[in-house]
Symmetry: C2
Subunit: 324 residues, 2 copies
């Protein structure tokens, strides 16, 4: 049993209820849609987002059905954005399994994403808590707004600043982690200061998680992470390792070509990846991720000590060690 | 001033607040997105859905800001589905203006639709009423579920039954009309029986509205309605005029080809359209639409008499006369 599996085992029984809710809600007559929803739910990863949501919701006695609905809402929102993203990026694999868009028409893929958004909103509303629904809607706006910003700024042509990078990975990842832990706290009626601590934990963990994702993009191969190495850079997106490399080696011609979205031969990308690795920019990025997991763990000090807090502490450590 | 404009004038000042809310909520840094939202809001039609929502919300004293948010939520939900539909259908015009997908990439169009869904959810949540948010989410599921059903059933290959047709136009149109008037009633605290009457009115009016839309598809030309004549049939969708024609002339070869989604030369479609018109199937369809506007008007009898009820009565009459 891996470290993460052990830490997540605290809520594994609850996660099975969450997955049941994720599969639920499709009208009986829509058998094809049910098959797709089952496929997407079955292709799910470690369920980190709903697990953290459940842990946060377990700090105080909570209506279990509502906490399952909330966690399912968080994971379906994530799934819905992935379905549209994979279509937009023409991605072929996700978690080692073929994406929906490889076998389906764009029309069916768009509508399936829309359906998952709707189901996710419905599950959020099942908490009967308007504040939670509000955070849910705001988070969806943040995620989609961030993607649109990235799309529009494609002509920007420069290596991003630290502030720009943080804004991007907040929108892309940390916003949903933060929403999950914050709404978990709200649902179980945690005191406001603790709800804030839960939100801070989710935020910082999410930032670290995305930095690690960005590091993995320079490490893994297609088999492990389901996409080519330096995939972001090939799409003109410079992440933290590139930003740190740019500080050491300003105006590297390949980096400039990448952020200007000029076509780059594969060998040239591979050479840049080797240079970035040799300049220890992955290690430096990891140090930055650790700074955020440390912050996340410090936020937990503002919460009562219990098994959930301990698991959350451990998960923060796991995030910066996973597959590295 | 047309009849409809006169009837809608009762809420025209309120509609300007609704439009302001529709344009609102885009982060200041996203100037391109704001331009698109402004374009989409500016391209809006008669605002029948938000107007009906406002009228329903005005039966009892209501928090105006919340009723504007609710009406904006209804119209943005409608707009979001249109943005995705036009992309899916490769539509070039909507209300005589170029669609977003003609000038934008699919990626930007998908994400703009997602953003409008998110904003719409946020506006629904501004009512601070979980029952309203629930109806909102259920309606989005109904709309998208209906579209998916249509997509999956493309191999069905038969003229739909009356029940199938009603289910389709409920999902496509009546569900949102009904949601608008029902949530309007909920928001102003109308008694349950009156909220139900408001829902029934919205439902029946929506059914009539869609039947009339389906009739217009056999009447208008590209200039008037922004798409080619018999557009649905060209896509293999048999609507009420075709269903009624099929009762008179079962197994017409062109109808069979259409529902089997076989390619049909334009002249053959045109010839079928002439036959459908000659068989008085548009008149018979209109009679069916009138049956529903009569039902909608009858539902109003269960509500207190006031200027809004009178306008809603008149709008039901307008729906079956517009552009016919």
């Amino acid at each position: 049993m891996s470290q993460a599996t052990e830490l997540l085992s605290l809520v594994s029984e609850e996660i099975s209820h969450v997955e049941a809710k994720m599969r639920d809600g499709v009208s009986e007559q829509y058998t094809d849609l049910q098959a797709v929803v089952d496929y997407l739910v079955g292709a799910g990863g470690k369920r980190l987002r709903p697990a953290l949501t459940l842990m946060a919701a377990n700090f105080y006695p909570v209506d279990k059905e509502k906490s399952y609905a909330l966690a399912a809402s968080v994971e379906l929102l994530h799934t819905a954005t992935l379905v549209h993203d994979d279509l937009i990026d023409n991605a072929l694999f996700r978690r080692g399994m073929p994406t929906l868009n490889t076998s389906w028409t764009p029309a069916a893929t768009i509508l399936t994403g829309d359906f998952l958004f709707a189901r996710s909103a419905q599950l959020a509303a099942e908490t009967d808590n308007v504040r939670i629904v509000n955070i849910f809607a705001q988070t969806l706006m943040t995620i989609v707004g961030g993607e649109l910003h990235q799309l529009f700024n494609s002509g920007h042509g420069q290596v991003p600043t630290e502030a720009e990078y943080h804004q991007r990975i907040y929108a892309k990842t940390a916003s949903l982690f933060a929403a999950g832990t914050e709404t978990g706290g709200i649902l179980c009626g945690a005191p406001e200061s603790e709800t804030e601590a839960l939100r801070d934990y989710g935020h910082d963990l999410g930032i670290a998680f995305q930095i690690v994702d960005d590091i993995l993009d320079f490490q893994g191969d297609e088999q492990t992470i389901g996409k080519p190495v330096a995939n972001d850079l090939r799409q003109g997106i410079a992440t933290l390792p590139v930003m740190l490399f740019n500080q050491k080696e300003p105006n590297h011609p390949t980096v400039l070509k990448a952020v200007r979205r000029e076509p780059i031969p594969n060998e040239e990308i591979q050479a840049l990846v080797r240079e970035i690795r040799a300049a220890c920019c992955l290690e430096a990025s990891l140090a930055e991720a650790r700074r955020f997991t440390n912050r996340a763990q410090a936020a937990l000090d503002r919460l009562p000590d219990n098994a959930y807090r301990q698991a959350m502490h451990g998960l923060a450590g796991y995030v910066v060690t996973r597959e590295l």
